[in-house]
């Protein structure tokens, strides 16, 4: 078992379904920050059998919107002075901006360079979002 030292400050993203850790790493653009980041894959877990986990030693605020889309079951623990001071349970965001792409082949965003497309949550159960341009429903898929 690999040991990673206890986090003094920052964020622990826990209970990530095994295999989703790298998706979250990419979606949060963790490659672009200078702080210490640890991604652990396939950790044995009693509840989940296996899970992924990310530790970020940082003071920065990180936009967690995308997490709810990729894996709404993860928990986020905020750590200060070596102690967890806040735990956040995720929900699907009402509005997603600049993360998703419209899958309607007839949508103008497939043809023009539109960088930030807003999507509005329409069905929580199906994780369906409505494109602000063509109104087509799109479901967030991790490969995006």
């Amino acid at each position: 078992m690999i040991n990673v030292s206890k986090l003094k400050k920052g964020i622990i993203i826990d209970h990530i379904e095994a295999g989703h850790g790298f998706e979250i790493y990419k979606a949060l653009h963790l490659n672009d920050i200078d702080d210490v980041v640890v991604l652990l894959k396939n950790i044995p877990s009693k509840k989940m059998k296996q899970k992924d986990l990310i530790k970020i030693e940082t003071d920065m605020q990180i936009d967690m919107t995308v997490l709810g889309l990729i894996d709404p079951n993860v928990t986020i623990n905020f750590v200060k002075n070596g102690e967890m001071y806040k735990k956040v349970k995720l929900t699907l965001p009402q509005v997603v901006n600049g993360i998703m792409k419209c899958k309607n082949p007839r949508c103008i965003t497939q043809y023009e360079d539109v960088r930030e497309i807003k999507f509005y949550l329409v069905n929580e159960e199906k994780k369906q979002y409505r494109c602000e341009y063509c109104d087509a429903f799109t479901t967030f898929i991790e490969e995006d």
């Binding site: 103008i108 341009y133 109104d135």
Partner: protein
């Protein structure tokens, strides 16, 4: 206040704002001469990236009848688009010359996108793929207002291509905002109303069927639509579905005496020409109202109608 606003989809305007357009259209119909110069000195950019006869002509006729002028194209190959210019750059350039712009484009969501680039020029969506066609909706509302006296409590049958029919999507979204309106969606299974429209409606206010004969007697308004060849990838599929419904004299016998038949036109085979003489067939009058309602819309968005105090 509609001055300076965009019309991308019918829900962009409140019911009161739509009513103000209808009232102005009524005034223009009653006294067209009184409005013949209200847009003098104003320029409308007519940007048609897709073929259109009546929508383009009705917009251009509307602007000319208000005393304004027109620039534009009806073939994108004759514009900078053929050089690879983005829509954003096209609109920002056109805004340097024009007071208002009308755009039709085959891609869904185009009008919403270009409206983000236009800072001081109202954008009117004249159809974006199979998505929306809000000025056809205004035309339809004016027609219903004229022939049925109002919008509330009608049973509206919508027949044909409900999947790709943008005029239908816009109309259903609009009419669902009025009291007591019920819909009967009549289409082949392959061309049923899309989920994103059905989701906007309460379960109790619509039903879906494939059989026009069974429901025609219940309708106050029958809105026919064309199966659009240009929306199909497969020619074989188009040929199979294009004559699925043909409204003829025999079917009209089962309809109410005061039911009206509407159609956004152009028609292919879905309404037999023998129906044209039936007083309930109002689609050509509907086309005429399209010009008047677009005159009212242009005047409102440009904020020019107040100059004509006598006529308001």
């Amino acid at each position: 206040m509609l001055k300076g606003r965009h019309l991308i989809e019918p829900n962009d305007f409140s019911l009161d704002e739509i009513e103000s357009i209808m009232q102005l259209a009524d005034n223009i119909i009653a006294n067209p001469e009184g409005y013949s110069m209200v847009c003098k000195g104003k320029l409308l950019a007519s940007l048609f990236y897709e073929p259109s006869t009546r929508t383009r002509f009705s917009f251009e006729a509307a602007m000319l009848r208000l005393g304004g002028e027109i620039i534009g194209f009806d073939d994108p190959n004759n514009s900078s688009v053929s050089k690879g210019e983005s829509l954003g750059d096209t609109i920002r350039t056109i805004e340097c010359y024009s007071d208002i712009a009308v755009i039709r484009h085959p891609r869904e969501g185009t009008a919403r996108l270009v409206s983000k680039f236009a800072k001081n020029m109202p954008i009117i969506n004249a159809g974006d793929g199979g998505h929306e066609h809000p000025t056809q909706t205004l035309t339809d509302l004016l027609t219903i207002r004229k022939f049925k006296g109002g919008y509330d409590n009608h049973v509206v049958g919508v027949c044909g291509d409900l999947l790709f029919g943008r005029t239908i999507h816009s109309l259903v979204k609009m009419l669902s905002r009025y009291q007591g309106v019920k819909f009967v969606f009549i289409s082949p299974k392959e061309l049923q109303m899309p989920e994103n429209i059905l989701n906007l409606l309460d379960d109790g206010i619509y039903k879906e069927t494939t059989n026009l004969d069974e429901v025609i007697g219940d309708l106050d308004i029958l809105y026919m639509s064309r199966v659009q060849r240009e929306r199909f990838v497969s020619e074989e599929e188009y040929l199979r579905l294009k004559d699925y419904y043909v409204l003829d004299k025999k079917k009209m016998k089962s309809a109410k005496k005061d039911m009206i038949v509407m159609h956004p036109l152009p028609r292919v085979n879905e309404i037999a020409t023998e129906v044209d003489d039936d007083p309930r067939a109002v689609y050509f009058t509907q086309a005429k109202y399209g010009m008047y309602v677009r005159m009212a819309l242009i005047a409102k968005l440009l904020g020019v109608e107040d100059k004509n105090d006598k006529c308001i």
